[in-house]
Amino acid sequence: MTEAKIRTEEMLLNMGPQHPSTHGVFRVVVRTDGELILESESHIGYLHRCFEKCAEGNNYLQVVPYTDRMDYLCAMMNNWGYAVAVEKLAGIEVPERAEYIRVMVAELNRVASHLLAFGTYGLDIGAITPFLYAFRDRERILKIFEKLCGQRLNYSYVRVGGVTFDMTEEILADIEAFCDYFDPKIIDEYDNLLSYNGIFISRTANVGVMPADLAISYGVTGPSLRGSGVQRDLRRDAPYGIYDRLEFDVPVGTGEMGQLGDCWDRYMVRMREMRQSIRLVRQALAGIPEGPFCDKKAYRAVKPKAGETYKRVEGARGEVGFYIVSDGTNIPYRVKARAPSFSNISILDKLTSLSDVMVADLVAIIGSLDIVLGEVDR
């Protein structure tokens, strides 16, 4: 029988909203020809919780817990992004000690978030053990946070004018112990276990190649953009807090295992960023000054003058931006959040159409973009 006589059909496959690899309630409708994906169409919005509308009905302090729930894996950065925006709007000075604490918790939270990205990416590719190792170490960070502010994910810790609780000596010692435990030994182990594993490389290298210009035009930020070789990090390019005083490198994708901007590069940027974050935490630990940890006046009764502002910080997934309009009352007139995952996920359909992508590759691409659906839908 010749090949021409075999009748083949395309199949519409509904991936999600309940699917283990879509990292939440996210639906992709894919048109497949066998294992090959011809076209994909993303559907979002299953987790919409009206953050922006809720923010219009609550005062500046009450909005903070809502920002936690956008990107629940790195809530500190969301808190911080909101806090810097309001501080700029109201002209509030943040005490020095609070800035150090913010850097410390934000970078630890970045490590926790990247650990989860690493673990779940291994899970997507089919390796289960790295996931549990990642969770074991993430648990240490979450315990530190729990001790610091009483919650493990939705911290509401960084607030306008400072932070909620002071760092105690014990927590500082905890953080130092974690850095010593984690930095060279455990990350090297992860690299040996997963990053440089031959099967893992063959699954991720040359898959989902995202050219730099395309990434920029789609508004991709964070590790996903840096994986394409673009040196763009707000902590260095538009420093906020005390980042201009700290030393760190911005790891970018090098294309060493395949083409520049493939899944492996995006993944590896996160692994390398963890080392940089630990480096930042160590510097903050060394330099943390004594003093107040919040601006007590500004802490609760925030009432900025009428005006508007946009501030952004470098979250674990990209630029977390807050655009706030004030009408002079203690309730924001409008809060618009720029969620990095929302922009990052928009490139998914383009990536699947750029090259021959199989069903397994689609899982790898979604995992390498490291989206949080709570943030996409808000």
Binding site: M11, L13, N14, H19, P20, S21, G34, E35, G122, L123, D124, I125, G126, A127, I128, T129, L132, Y133, R136, L193, L194, N197, I199, F200, S202, R203, M358, V359, A360, D361, V363
Partner: protein, 438 residues
């Protein structure tokens, strides 16, 4: 290839059944129990010694039937089936538990700890739960196929246990074409999996099914090549014969095989065998759908692949079949490469063999051989688990690449190399010691 194999197998299976009619008890008494089953002998001995008691109605007729030597063989057959089935179940229960423990200990966890000491009865509890579950058949599923598929998969695995020894003489039926039988019946399992995925009427199951078909049909070839190489070197298809040959020939002149040292194993027969054993192991992982070749089940991609829609006992049968297949490929590897029941230590192997052996040493020797065989197989099963809990899954095209462009050429080179080695060395092993030259 497989169709041809089937016809041969049925002829062979018929012959195997016929062999059951042979008089095993006398062979047991004489200590030359070649190619038979110990249980058959024991049963026959029991029945013919005592017979059916007088008070049983129609005892004289029953005894007449027994004397016609029909019952002992059928009884032995049933008992054999029961033993194999029981072994598969108990192994699966133990293997599921140990897989959970192995994974837990690799992942800094404890694993099941609640049911029984260290959770050893957890699988039993889970099995009971699965038995009690509602048997759901999707409305749009092809019901007969859907219901039949798990049974076919399980039967396909169980059938392959027929020519597989568990120790010296402990074999359901020593088929002359044993290895061929194992390779051929493997195709039945693929059929069952395809039925399961297709009849589920689920797109994800369909993906899993197509993957399974691709994978298992492809990987039969490296496995077949490994078998062929071993068959060429040993000159026999029979698993018993292959193992006996690996027992060495230290004193083969009196007709007994006493066992040999570790270098008599096929693994060290020539350098190609060493490579071939690795290719066989990799291909066998694919054959029993274990990670990194677990594409048919791929939880993160296909949710659960071909058994997505299955619940309750039907799901348990798939599960059971998977673990039975794990043991099976490991046991075959032990038979064809790792010296079967020979421990590789001559004095230990020689225990209970030869004309001077008493019943005590015979029994002791048999137990040791069973223990050695099982521990080798279990060690390989552990390696399978170890691999699963370390490695990521490979993609479909890479799976095909590994099979056709890596394993197949290497296996072919090993096949040719082994043949040349055998011709050149006249059957000498790597270490220069003789294997079996008669």
């Amino acid at each position: 290839m497989n169709l041809f194999a089937f016809t041969t197998i049925f002829a062979q299976a018929g012959k195997g059944l016929g062999e059951f009619a042979g008089d095993y008890s006398s062979k047991w008494d004489a200590g030359t129990y070649d190619g038979g089953l110990v249980f058959a002998g024991i049963i026959k001995w029991l029945v013919t010694t005592w017979g059916v008691p007088e008070w049983v109605p129609l005892s004289s007729i029953l005894n007449g039937v027994l004397e016609a030597s029909v019952f002992p063989e059928i009884g032995a057959l049933l008992i054999t089936i029961g033993l194999v089935f029981g072994f598969v179940n108990i192994f699966a229960i133990g293997a599921v538990w140990s897989e959970r423990k192995v994974s837990a200990h690799m992942q800094c966890r404890l694993g099941p700890m609640e049911v029984g000491p260290h959770g050893i009865l957890q699988t039993v509890a889970d099995g009971l739960k699965l038995l009690a579950k509602e048997d759901i058949i999707p409305r749009l599923a092809d019901k007969p196929l859907f219901a039949l598929a798990p049974a076919i998969v399980f039967a396909g695995v169980l059938m392959r246990f027929v020519p597989l020894p568990f120790g010296d003489q402990l074999i359901a039926s020593d088929l002359d074409l044993g290895l061929f039988f194992i390779a051929a019946v493997g195709a039945v399992e693929v059929l069952g999996v395809i039925m399961a995925g297709w009849s589920s009427n689920n797109k994800w199951s369909l993906f899993g099914t197509i993957r399974t078909a691709t994978q298992m049909v492809s990987y039969e070839i490296p496995i077949g090549l490994a078998f062929i190489t071993v068959i060429i070197c040993s000159g026999s298809f029979s698993l018993m014969e292959i193992v006996n040959q690996q027992g060495g020939s230290l004193n083969a002149s009196d007709g007994y095989v006493y066992g040999g040292w570790i270098w008599h194993w096929n693994l060290f027969r020539n350098p190609f065998m060493l490579v071939l054993s690795i290719t066989y192991f990799i291909a066998s992982l694919a054959e029993c759908k274990r990670s990194p070749f677990d594409l048919p089940e791929a939880e993160s991609e296909l949710v659960s692949g071909f058994h997505t829609e299955y619940t309750g006992m039907r799901f348990a049968l798939f599960f059971l079949a998977e673990y039975a297949a794990m043991y099976l490929v490991a046991a075959v590897a032990v038979v064809i490469f790792l010296g079967g029941w020979w421990s590789g230590i001559y004095p230990l192997d020689a225990l209970g063999l030869g004309p001077e052996a008493t019943t005590l040493t015979k029994t002791l020797g048999l137990l040791i051989k069973v223990g050695v065989f099982l521990s080798k197989a279990f060690a390989l099963v552990f390696v399978q688990m170890w691999v699963r809990w370390t490695l990521p899954r490979i993609r479909l095209d890479q799976m095909m690449y590994v099979c056709w462009k890596v394993l197949l050429p290497i296996s072919l080179v090993c096949l040719i190399g082994s043949c040349l080695w055998e011709l050149a060395s006249g059957g000498a092993s790597v270490f220069g010691f003789g294997i079996v030259v008669e």
